[in-house]
């Protein structure tokens, strides 16, 4: 596969975006969907072939997977040495990511054919979808840290456009604004992190950046680690800030508030963006810079604890949500917490690299079953026209395929053995067990919670009360909606058996893994317990969930209210930033700085008013001024002037 054809992978969606963007509304609105899906199909095929070729033909050099720079030309040349350039870099995680992104995006494209049929801005929807896929692929394939920042911003904007697709709903507009501003705030940290890292290593390219900042002897590493700002070395500052950028995009703890609101967008969008691709960008970024992270323990501990806390925090909230898409959003946040802390506990190379491999493996499997869950939820909402659990129930007869695929996905995410989730979650728990006991127990408890809230969701949608949904004909949706569900379900089952361990590792060497049955007994048992608890509470209509909720009292309402994080942010932005900084700034500008200028104007007017008093029209005043003047001159010239 020649290098230029690799460049085709991101460029095809870009081409569709331009075509649909410019001519979509008027001319191509009828078959916009077809164009989008076909171009993405080609892009998926190319990426599969590239991945295959990289992994099994050209990638491995004497046993180690080497990053290959496929394409590179200088985009912005400051001085002969310093330049920002655009390029494509192939390496194990990039290959895995392009496969995941293109595949899931294809599924979503097919699903949207049916789901978005009636929409009046159908073409713009597909334009924005392909813009998103382009920027995500660009992000994954970028060869230097500046280029990844550029596509990072583009991903942010396309998510803004997609969340705000139903722009006549004020809540959608507010949600898209919130998403963009929170991620933008995190990107600021990312930008400053880039500047610190790039300046201390005097390069932007990933390969040289990692090489220079990872061997202790290099002058770059020495002064980076040496130069400290408030006690923390510049290197740690850079890494933590870069992680901050990643946390923003992956909705980790402090920056997670935009994810639940992002559910305002169409469900296929949530399936693509908020399940499989955009939210894992943060994990991908940390994985990309993992060798430097591994070198700096402080940064890694931050990653671990933020990841672990987010996982637990999100799992608790997910148990109390009533809107099915918000449950799935929090479950995404929790699973990404898993990936983050598994990267956190990993070491560079050898046996320590298990965490890194496990995180990538979980990312791989999670993409499939989480997008399946979202698409399933989309089909349900399409039928029921409401997101709330209480409007659903007993839909298993009405929607057989969705029911089965949803069940498979729930089993997968809960970590029940044959399914994909079990394998990747085991690796993560194993890695956590080896390096950080406390995180291991948190992970164990969260996996139990995951099983509980997933099956709570499953039972309340498909079981609990008899469905009162009137049969309105289109039932489970067209074929284009059912096909992706089935394909994703197949992957959710068999993704576990993919040999990720031998392909994607932190140091490129294959890592042989074995399933330690004894060890994995406890998590599976916990998962089964969670499922049984959920079925007892939610399988049939009963008052038990309500009674538990009242007993838990404060904790339940707090969790239901997302621990008042939104109110906190509202307080910070509106009360503090708008009132304490914005208003005074505007006031100062209007009164003080502007006032100063007006003051000059008024004083001159005042002076001129007084001066004109002299011209009073009174003859005798003039005469006396004249007389006094003459007198003064007489005195001056006679006595003083000699």
């Amino acid at each position: 596969m020649s290098n230029y054809s690799i460049a085709l992978i991101p460029l095809l969606p870009l081409a569709t975006f331009v075509v649909l963007g410019l001519f979509g509304r008027k001319y191509l609105s009828a078959f916009a969907g077809i164009i989008g899906t076909i171009s993405l199909l080609i892009s998926t095929i190319i990426s599969l072939v590239t991945a295959y070729q990289y992994f099994f033909i050209s990638g491995k050099i004497n046993g180690i997977y080497q990053p290959i720079i496929a394409l590179n030309y200088s985009w912005l040349q400051f001085t002969p040495s310093v330049s920002i350039d655009m390029g494509i870099m192939l390496d194990p995680i990039a290959m895995m990511m392009i496969v995941v992104v293109t595949f899931v995006s294809l599924m979503v494209h097919i699903f949207s054919l049916g789901y978005m049929k009636g929409e009046e801005r159908f073409a713009t929807y597909y334009a924005f979808l392909s813009l998103f896929t382009f920027s995500m692929l660009g992000l994954v394939l970028s060869s230097n840290i500046f280029q990844i920042y550029m596509f990072w911003e583009l991903v942010g904007v396309s998510s803004f456009l997609l969340i705000g697709y139903y722009f006549d709903k004020p809540s959608a507009v507010a949600a898209s604004k919130k998403a963009f501003i929170v991620t933008r705030f995190a990107d600021l940290g990312f930008l400053i992190g880039i500047l610190i890292l790039a300046y201390s290593a005097e390069t932007l390219d990933f390969g040289t950046l990692i090489a220079r900042l990872t061997d202790a002897s290099s002058p770059y590493f020495v002064n980076a680690a040496g130069a400290s700002f408030i006690g923390i070395s510049a290197l740690t500052w850079g890494l933590v800030l870069v992680f901050l950028g990643g946390a923003g995009k992956s909705a980790m703890f402090p920056f997670h508030i935009w994810l639940p609101d992002a559910m305002e967008g169409p469900t296929p969008v949530s399936a693509l963006i908020h399940a499989a691709t955009m939210v894992v960008a943060g994990v991908f970024l940390v994985a990309r810079l993992f060798p430097i992270f591994a070198f700096d323990a402080a940064a890694l501990t931050v990653v671990t604890y933020v990841g672990a806390f987010s996982a637990l925090f999100a799992a608790i909230i997910a148990c109390t949500q009533t809107d099915i898409k918000r449950v799935l959003a929090y479950s995404t946040m929790s699973q990404i917490g898993y990936m983050m802390f598994s990267l956190g506990v990993a070491k560079h190379g050898g046996e320590g690299g298990l965490g890194y491999m496990a995180s990538m493996f979980h990312l791989f499997t999670h993409a499939f079953f989480k997008s399946l869950l979202f698409l399933g939820a989309g089909a349900v909402i399409h039928l029921v026209h409401s997101n709330e659990m209480k409007d659903m129930g007993g839909l298993r007869k009405l929607m057989p395929i969705t029911h089965i695929t949803f069940l498979i996905a729930c089993l997968a995410i809960a970590g029940i053995p044959p399914f994909a989730g079990f394998f990747s979650k085991e690796e993560i728990l194993l890695a956590a067990f080896h390096s950080n006991k406390m995180v291991f127990f948190v992970a164990l408890f969260t996996s139990g919670l995951t099983a509980f809230y997933m099956f709570r969701l499953y039972f309340s949608i498909f079981w609990s009360k008899e469905s009162h949904v009137h049969e309105n004909g289109h039932g489970e949706g067209t074929l284009t909606m059912k096909l992706p569900l089935v394909i994703l379900a197949v992957f959710a089952v068999f993704a576990g058996f993919f040999p990720i361990a031998s392909l994607v590792t932190s140091d490129g060497l294959a890592l042989e893994t074995h399933i330690d049955y004894l060890f994995s007994l406890t998590p599976v048992a916990l998962a089964v317990a969670g499922i049984l608890l959920a079925s007892s509470l939610y399988k049939s209509e009963n008052s038990k969930p309500q009674s538990i909720a009242t007993t838990l009292g404060g904790l339940y309402t707090a969790a239901h209210k997302k621990f008042y994080m939104d109110e906190l942010y509202m307080f910070i932005t509106h009360k503090i930033i708008f009132n304490l900084i914005g208003k005074p700034a505007a006031w100062i500008d209007k009164n003080i700085v502007d006032g100063l200028m007006n003051l000059f104007a008024d004083t001159t007017a005042q002076i001129s008013d007084n001066m004109k008093g002299l011209q009073s029209g009174k003859l005798q005043q003039y005469a006396s001024y004249f007389f006094v003047g003459v007198l003064g001159f007489m005195l001056l010239f006679i006595y003083l002037w000699n």
């Binding site: 509304r25 200088s74 985009w75 912005l76 040349q77 400051f78 001085t79 310093v82 920002i84 500046f146 920042y149 550029m150 596509f151 911003e153 583009l154 904007v157 803004f160 705000g164 722009f167 006549d168 709903k169 004020p170 507009v173 507010a174 898209s176 604004k177 963009f180 501003i181 933008r184 705030f185 600021l188 930008l191 400053i192 500047l195 300046y199 700002f229 930033i577 708008f578 900084i581 914005g582 208003k583 700034a585 505007a586 100062i588 500008d589 700085v593 502007d594 100063l596 200028m597 104007a601």
Partner: protein
Amino acid sequence: MTNLSILVIFPLLTTFAILFCRNVTQIKWTALIGSLLQLTIASLLMYSYYGERAAGNTAQMLFEARYSWYSAMNIEYYVGVDGISVIMIMLTAFVVTCGILISWKIETLTKEFFFLLLLLSVGAYGFFISLDLFTMFFFLELAVIPKFLLIAIWGSGKKEYSAMKLALMLMGGSALVLIGLLATYFNTDMGGGVHTWDLLKIAHMHIPYETQLFIFPFLFVGFGVFTALFPFHTWVPDGHSSAPTAASMFLAGISMKLGGYGCLRVATYLMPEAAQHYSWIIVLLATIAIIYGAFATLMQKDLKYINAYSSVSHCGFILLGIGMLTKTALIGAVMQMVSHGLMTALFFGAIGMIYERTHTRQIKELGGLLKTIPFLSSVFIIAGLCSLGLPGFSGFVSEMVVFVGAWQQPDAFHRIATILAAASIVVTAVYILRAAGSAIMGPIKNEHFNHLKDATWNEKMASVLLIFAILSIGLAPFWLINIISPDTQIIMENIARGAIGN
């Protein structure tokens, strides 16, 4: 394209041609054709400039021409052009053409309107090509006076007040500049008591350190007033929001760049030691302007005020770039001038077009325009995204170059200033999205917005022209950098020589 003065004479001819037109359509078409031809001349100039540079002509200034105006004071009409001025001329040509295209519906006194607008452009062209300080000042003044009339007659809101304020503050600024230029003039001696106004000769002449310390503030603050230097920026919000669309496009797009170009070419280039000495004040004021301007914009309710305050914040980047005194930062400053010029022209154009249809600029009253006038709303959104620094548009490129350049100053003060300036991209995102969110997206608040007419051919052409320019810088900025960097190199050599000097 040897004779540069065509750039000044041709618009003058168009202005006179307008005087002889009879009805409104003739006026509009002569103005448009005149500005389009001017655009072709400007691109011809750039093309031949490229050719000249490719042919290895390394002289600092090309296409020089010199006629003596007033030999007693040694004042000459000395014109020449280098990379930076070629770019600024292209920018002026673009913005003026789009300004004329957008002001197609001016009914009252159209002849005078276009006459004054083109007179302004003559001032701007002259300013960018002149190398004699006196001629530069002459064209600077020419570019100030018609603004007052444009705002006072065709403006909206409290137009007399803002026209007066704008004119007085700009006049104040140019007065400071005049003092600075005179002081420089009298401090140059070509032997035998003869002084010179020639920019290049003065650059090689070493003005003593103390006099530099005295003259530099006058020049920098004088030109700074044009580029909304912090305490003197109050004319920007009032002036821009009361001006008619084409005038505010010219005002924000070009006349704020006159100041930036002046600061770079006259203040920093001629007095490097003083620039070094005062650089911390410039950086401080620029950072305040950026942060302060951004936060002040948060509170604005009127679209034009938002764009005016955001121009204050974006022009802060220009001064930040100049204040940092590193090669990349200077390149960033020039790129920011060009990119901000285009983007604010597009933004003001979009706001003007929306105002023409909905007759209100209050965010509260606007809503759901995306449904009724999709083309205009997408132009507005593109302008908004460009100004908040989305990659692919020129805003991102120039801001990043300024940040990278600013980051090369290792000491803590400059680092904090850069971080604060970088923090402004978040605040910019907030106010742009608040404006776009409530004005363009969201439900339709006012029922008669339902049947608004979308963009006519001239508005479409203007927006496409500007968007093409923004994209050409955003997607492939190397052509812009290659044309600018040799000149910033020369300025940097002067600063380096200055640093050794004192």
